[in-house]
């Protein structure tokens, strides 16, 4: 028997407590805390002491702090109900600043030196909370009252009612600053995943581990053992805690067993995929150096054993939410595991034999048991005797009907079988109303639990293959059955994975009785009887829902918000269902349950994102000239995953337009070089290479000779343009196709689809060479002169030998293999030179050197875009998935005599409607005006309306060649309307100007520059 000294009050504010002495409710000995390691912490600015091994909740209770928070709606004082992750009440803000974590359950927050916690949802303080006046209006604030009110006047909803409601709602305050900690992710694979390291889980892991299977054992607690740490039990003649420690030691010695404490298995996904979150650094003030705060495990398991245990059920009676009212199992946890007396005078309200276990534990720890109230009409004599032996009053067939106390429990009101009422002083009430197996995880795959009338609880229904629930999680509540079902499941899981295993013998355990008659609510209670503590859902709200027709469990949940708080109804759901069953006169089994959804307990969003945040949200692809571009101070732009140089400002160029104009002018007058490596490049070889190109491209290729390239347009099967590019014929049966930067991956996938699925008989070999080749466009009148400085002598690239659209293998720089294509996006004499990517940097520098005598400039994506608009080439803004080849002026080039993807669907009536908007050019009537892409076209004088809409401007640029803005756009019957004027209407940018329709080719319409 421990001797204990109890202190009355918490330590005064600011004073440094002599840690152990300040903990007035700490037993002198016992518990699994490390009394040699005292810790200081603060709650609402007050300093307290605790020990290593405490949770915040156990340490608060040790210091006599019972009032921990305020409830959601009524701002009622709330304390600590549980000792685990199911806690609905004791939610605090943990840490501060950018690390502030609202709604943190004090019952699972491990104590560390310097821990800071604050209560939430109260103002100005936890003890004096102004909004507790809400409790007075509780009769108005019944379930769903807001659906019936706040409707008049309608304008006041957003202005007044909603802001008030929003401010009052929510519990804690989230950190506003970016999360300073990092998160890690890891994949793990195993034969047998064991979820929960209580007696059943340990037995399962031992059996599977001994068979040689790869086992992962996860437990949300930092210490393995489950209820063996909380109840004084015996296994094979030793204490349960010792047995658990031995089991852990043996598991730790097995090389194929991985034990993950502080790890919550939060979700079950298809085909043996599981999500688990490991709290690597949450038990410390800061995560350890070089370690993440948390690590998300994605576990793939062949077999899974659910041994997550069970959650005790509260009773529903008036004032059952008063601080000091706790679950009986939690009371025993605080006593036995933490060496804390949750109260000096404890009353026990039970509906089964299990609650009586609390009597001896309280008494053994030095507490006074005031009374045991059992709602059943008969009680085993030995239990009664044991209670009476410690001086407890025993009330059979009685109920707790109410509680008294200001900010914490001072007394309970009890009615006995004869209806006589009495008040019993106590500062802690332990409630035992049976246990619910944790069926959450097995419900994640849409398997509904089933009602088990023998234990009055939902148990797992049919589980997916490879998954089994054992111990309390499977409805086997006795310790012996936990060990037995766990051991058997472990052995069977291992043998299902091909390991020879034997079902272990179940060790002997001390006797226990679990007789139980659940009590869904106390029939004669006073005041608000809470079902869902956190969301302030009372029994009367369930009645109201019933009255108003919200009887289906999902409707009950949604109308009352029962089970929708941060605990997802772990302690409340069944009471709600039980009461609804009573009201509708149905058995609970027919009422059913709502669907449990992942995660089992809330998981930090940052953990799901892991490394992928900030600049690492998505990969960044760099072009081969990137280092040079950076040296030159290029301005980069995100293009899909690529980072491309947009333009290259010189020191005196402060305006981007000035730079781009210079780049364009230099290309048009001299020469420029642009990195176009981002294009997709697909190598196509084989006897049927031409055949597949013919089928995927809408224009004909049969006549393409070796050594020539051709523009290519690809349609989707629905007839719209998929992409455009070029196809170059390098050999009789060797082609290289380019795709646009944005569509490179899509086109490759499309080609693979055509080859593997549509036409598998074709003899074709395709592979992406996008990463192999750096590709540079060299454009401008001096492009050939520039190339002569890098292409090795012996390759004739004269206009005669290497005309427009020629292509050839060459070498550059003295023997580096390269490919040269005479193709042009700018309308200038232009080439694309491809060199192996490793030589990309050197080749780029060599081009710049070779071109310096010819006035070369590097140009970026902006100048590239200006020049393509000047030439009327459609690009991403026009090929946006909504346009046909005809729409963008390519209708004439489509093949007539071959079948190809998209051939038939492009002929649908609406797609050949002459009224469809067609690509044309635009220029401002007042040449000084700027054009904007996205403007809509209207007839001059027409009032803006959808009916008046004639099309839209798709691309614009300032043309330095012409000295004014130009645009491309799609407009109804555009090709017939050159020279006419329309409005370019752009109200979102206050734009409304007149523009003139013109040819989309603004520069060199006769293509004289291209072929010289």
């Amino acid at each position: 028997m421990t001797t204990i000294t109890l202190r009355d009050t918490a330590s005064p504010s600011g004073a440094r407590p002599a840690t152990a002495a300040g903990q007035g409710f700490r037993t002198a000995t016992g518990g699994m805390i490390d009394r040699r390691r005292p810790l200081d912490f603060t709650f609402d600015g007050h300093r307290y002491g605790g020990f290593q091994g405490d949770t915040l909740a156990s340490a608060l209770l040790a210091n006599g702090v019972r009032l921990v928070g305020r409830s959601f709606k009524y701002h009622r004082p709330r304390g600590i109900l549980t000792a685990g992750s199911e806690e609905p009440n004791a939610l605090v803000e943990l840490r501060s600043g950018a690390r502030r974590e609202p709604n943190t359950r004090a019952t699972v927050a491990e104590l560390y030196e310097g821990l800071e916690a604050s209560s939430q949802n109260r103002w100005p303080s936890l003890k004096y909370d102004v909004l507790s006046v809400n409790a007075l209006a509780a009769p108005v604030f019944a379930a769903g009252f807001y659906y019936k009110t706040f409707m008049w006047p309608s304008a006041l909803w957003e202005k007044l009612y909603e802001p008030l409601i929003r401010r009052a709602a929510g519990l804690g305050r989230a950190a506003h600053a970016p999360d300073p900690d990092t998160y890690d992710k890891a994949f793990a694979f195993c034969d047998v995943l064991v979820i929960g390291a209580g007696p059943a889980g340990l037995a399962a892991a031992l059996a599977a581990g001994r068979a040689g299977a790869r086992v992962i054992l996860v437990d949300e607690d930092h210490r393995t053992g489950g209820r063996l740490l909380a109840d004084r039990r015996e296994i094979a003649g030793r204490s349960g805690a010792d047995w658990a420690a031995d089991a852990l030691a043996e598991l730790a010695s097995m090389p194929e067993v991985r034990i993950l404490p502080r790890t919550t298995l939060f979700g079950v996904y298809d085909h043996g995929a599981y999500g688990a979150i490991e709290r690597v650094g949450d038990h410390l003030a800061l995560p350890p150096a070089h370690a993440p705060r948390q690590r998300m495990w994605r576990i793939t398991a062949k077999q899974a054993i659910l041994a997550a245990g069970a959650i005790e059920r509260p009773h529903v009676f008036g004032g059952n939410d008063r601080p000091g009212v706790m679950l009986a199992g939690a009371v025993r946890t605080y006593l036995n595991r933490y060496g804390v007396l949750p109260g000096r005078t404890v009353a026990i309200f039970t509906s089964g034999d299990d609650g009586w276990r609390t009597v001896t534990d309280v008494s053994a720890a030095g507490g006074q048991v005031a009374a045991v109230i059992d709602s059943r009409s008969s009680i085993p004599a030995d239990l009664r005797r044991a209670a009476e032996a410690v001086g407890a009053r025993v009330i059979c067939d009685g109920y707790v009907t109410g509680t008294k106390g200001h900010l914490g429990l001072e007394a309970i009101e009890v009615v006995d079988t004869y209806g006589s009422r009495q008040t019993i002083a106590c500062d802690c009430l332990a409630m035992a109303n049976g246990w619910n197996p944790i069926v959450h995880l097995d419900s994640h795959l849409s398997r509904r639990p089933v009602w088990d009338e023998t234990i009055h609880a939902f148990v797992p229904g049919a589980l997916p293959s490879g998954m089994v629930a054992v111990g309390a999680a499977g409805g086997a509540f006795t310790l012996a059955s936990c060990l037995e079902t766990g051991g058997r499941a472990g052995a069977e899981a291992a043998s299902a994975c091909g390991f020879a295993s034997a079902v272990p013998e179940t060790p002997r355990t001390d006797p226990e009785s679990l007789a139980h008659t659940p009590l869904w609510r106390v029939p004669v209670s006073k005041g608000k009887a809470f079902v869902d503590f956190q969301n302030d859902v009372a029994a009367s709200d369930v009645e109201l829902a019933h009255r108003e027709g919200f009887r289906a469990v999902e409707l009950l949940k949604r109308y009352t918000t029962l089970g929708m708080a941060t605990d997802q109804g772990k302690t409340s759901n069944l009471a709600g269902l039980g009461i609804m069953a009573e009201l509708t006169g149905q058995p609970v089994a027919s009422v059913g349950t709502t669907m449990f959804r992942p995660p089992f307990t809330p998981v930090a969003i940052g953990a799901f994102a892991g490394h992928h945040r900030g600049k690492d949200f998505r990969a960044t692809r760099h072009v081969p000239s990137h280092a040079w571009c950076e040296e030159q101070g290029a301005v980069f732009v995100e293009t899909g995953l690529w980072l491309r140089p947009a333009y290259f400002p010189k020191t005196d160029e402060t305006d981007w337009l000035k730079t781009v104009n210079r780049e364009v002018n230099t290309v048009r007058a001299h020469v420029g070089v642009c990195d176009v490596t981002t294009l997709g490049k697909i190598d196509i070889q084989g006897r049927d290479a031409l055949a597949i190109i013919e089928r995927v491209c809408a224009n004909p290729f049969g006549t393409l000779p070796v050594g020539k390239a051709r523009y290519a347009v690809l349609l989707r099967e629905d007839g719209f343009v998929l992409d455009d590019g070029t196809v170059a014929r390098l050999g009789e049966s060797h082609f290289v196709m380019t795709a646009s930067t944005a569509n490179a991956a899509k086109v490759m996938q499309h080609l693979e689809f055509c080859h593997q699925w549509l036409w598998p008989e074709l003899d074709v070999q395709m592979v992406s060479v996008s990463e192999q080749w750096a590709q540079y466009a060299v454009a401008g009148p001096r492009a050939r002169d520039t190339l002569l400085g890098i292409v090795d002598p012996g390759f004739d690239i004269s206009n005669e030998a290497f005309p427009f659209l020629a292509c050839a293998d060459v070498t550059v720089g003295g023997g580096i293999p390269a490919r040269l294509f005479r193709i042009s996006f700018s309308g200038e004499l232009a080439y694309e030179l491809a060199v192996p990517a490793a030589y990309g940097d050197a080749a780029w520098r060599a081009i710049m050197a070779a071109g310096s005598a010819h006035g070369i400039t590097a140009y970026g994506s902006e100048a590239l875009s200006v020049m393509r608009i000047e030439k009327g080439h459609a690009a991403g803004a026009e090929i946006n998935g909504q346009t046909t080849a005809r729409d963008i002026g390519l209708g004439g080039m489509l093949a007539k005599k071959k079948d190809y993807i998209g051939r038939l669907m492009k002929e649908r009536p609406a797609l050949v409607d002459p009224d469809r908007p067609i690509l044309v050019g635009f220029r401002p009537v007042d040449r000084s005006q700027r054009l904007r892409a996205g403007a809509r076209f209207l007839a001059i004088g027409a009032a803006p309306s959808l009916a008046a809409d004639e099309g839209t401007m798709t691309s614009v640029a300032y043309s330095p060649s012409l000295g004014h803005w130009i645009g491309l756009g799609l407009i109804r019957r555009g090709q017939e309307r050159h020279g006419t004027r329309v409005r370019a209407y752009d109200p979102v940018r206050d734009g409304d100007i007149e523009v003139e329709i013109c040819s989309p080719v603004f520069v060199d319409p006769k293509e004289e520059k291209l072929r010289v």
């Binding site: 909803w157 998505r618 979102v988």
Partner: protein, 416 residues
């Protein structure tokens, strides 16, 4: 009993004892003028407007489970009318206008909250695409504003402007957009329809569509045959299953879309925001939870749940946009089944079978459409001709080429 603050306070004195069921849990009659299959938001709204606008009250809504058990209770509650194509614009604006007057119309507070919908852009091309859309909206008389970076910063200063992989350059804002308390929409329409005489029949699964001489004559159900002059399907997610009972194949696939809610916290964000460089959209419920979502999982599914690949993708988008979310915890995620149509737009039309009407293909935009879908579907059922605002939602548009493809993704449902 009419709902008002007064009636609630009056009931407070009486322990809230006099409230009646919000809708009658009807037993099906042998015959109706019209049977609406599906007691979700759309079906209930259709029944309400059939009664209110067309005086047709001999109507049953057949629901296999309970009222609002489908997507109306599983979505991320966003309402908006920021569409860019002529086929969509008038319809969604009709819906927005109906939302704006909904509470007074049905005497039920569905908490229509016009807190704004902000679509972020991250490139010049995206800005221009949004301008194109915003301009179309403005031409239709719908509010739209194109914000620059500073305009966005003024609204949501906490998102990542400085270290982003895809920097925020601005946004398209529809101030009239916002959120609506989703369940309340179903309940409010159920109550209002029931008050007008519509039979709401729960736990009544349709198992067959009976036809005689090429015309629908009623439906087989788990509660027996119910004769009907007109049968209207409003069962997004399960449309193909019901249509197959009438031997129809449709341009629709069923896909799972996941949705997410965080723990409740004090107000953080007072608008609806969408990321333009990843799949992520978020708002905060009046209860305090951040409600968010992303892309569909991408495979055909009738299971109301998804998988981790999509979950991670959504969270990455969230963290990339809003680094302060890191320590906020995900409370719950779930899935709903979407009718993904082949061009990403819905179908409200007659079918080749006389007397069989179809409201389907809502992809993941059905919630915001609830009032207008009910309004226009009721019009179609009552008058056998499309309402002008839904005239583009024809079933034959895939054959004629009059597609309404806002994203330009073509005939691949999982890309819309």
């Amino acid at each position: 009993m009419r709902y008002s603050l007064l009636s609630v306070m009056g009931q407070a004195l009486r322990g809230q004892r006099d409230w009646k069921p919000q809708w009658r849990d009807a037993t099906p009659k042998a015959e109706y003028d019209a049977v609406i299959v599906g007691g979700g938001g759309h079906g209930l709204a259709t029944a309400y407007y059939l009664a209110k606008e067309h005086g047709i009250t001999n109507v049953a809504v057949l629901e296999k489970s309970h009222v609002g058990s489908g997507n109306v209770g599983r979505n991320t509650t966003i309402v908006r009318s920021n569409y860019g194509l002529a086929g969509n614009i008038p319809f969604y604006e009709r819906s927005m206008k109906l939302w704006e007057g909904l509470e007074q119309d049905i005497n039920y507070n569905a908490m229509v909250s016009q807190r704004g919908v902000l679509n972020l852009y991250h490139s010049d091309a995206q800005r221009d695409a949004y301008a194109r859309r915003g301009n179309a909206m403005r031409m239709a008389g719908i509010d739209a504003e194109l914000l620059d970076r500073e305009g966005v910063r003024g609204m949501v200063p906490f998102i990542d402007f400085d270290n982003a992989r895809f920097p925020v350059k601005g946004g398209l804002l529809q101030r009239r957009g916002g959120t609506v308390r989703h369940d309340a929409v179903a309940w409010g329409y159920a109550r209002a329809a029931s008050d007008r005489g519509v039979d709401i029949v729960q736990n009544c699964a349709v198992t067959g569509i009976r036809r005689e001489n090429g015309r629908v004559v009623g439906v087989e159900t788990s509660r027996g045959f119910i004769r009907a002059k007109k049968v209207a399907l409003s069962v997004a997610g399960s449309t193909s299953l019901l249509a197959s009972m009438a031997d129809l194949r449709l341009p629709i696939e069923s896909h799972v879309l996941q949705a997410f809610v965080s723990e409740g916290v004090k107000p953080l964000i007072d608008t609806v925001m969408t990321f333009g460089a990843g799949h992520f959209y978020v708002s905060q419920s009046d209860k305090g939870g951040l409600v968010f979502g992303g892309d569909i999982d991408g495979y055909n599914s009738y299971a109301q749940r998804g998988n981790l690949a999509t979950i991670e993708d959504v969270m990455e988008g969230g963290m990339a946009l809003w680094p302060g979310l890191g320590r906020l915890r995900l409370l719950r995620h779930w899935g709903g089944i979407m009718d993904m149509s082949m061009d990403g737009s819905p179908i409200i039309d007659r079918t080749p079978i006389d007397g069989l009407y179809l409201n389907a293909g809502w992809c993941y935009g059905g919630f915001k459409a609830t009032p207008a879908a009910g309004f226009c579907f009721a019009h179609l059922i009552a008058r056998d001709t499309s309402h002008e605002d839904a005239a583009a939602y024809r079933l034959d548009r895939f054959a004629t080429g009059h597609l309404i493809d806002e994203k330009g993704m073509g005939a691949q449902p999982n890309l819309h």
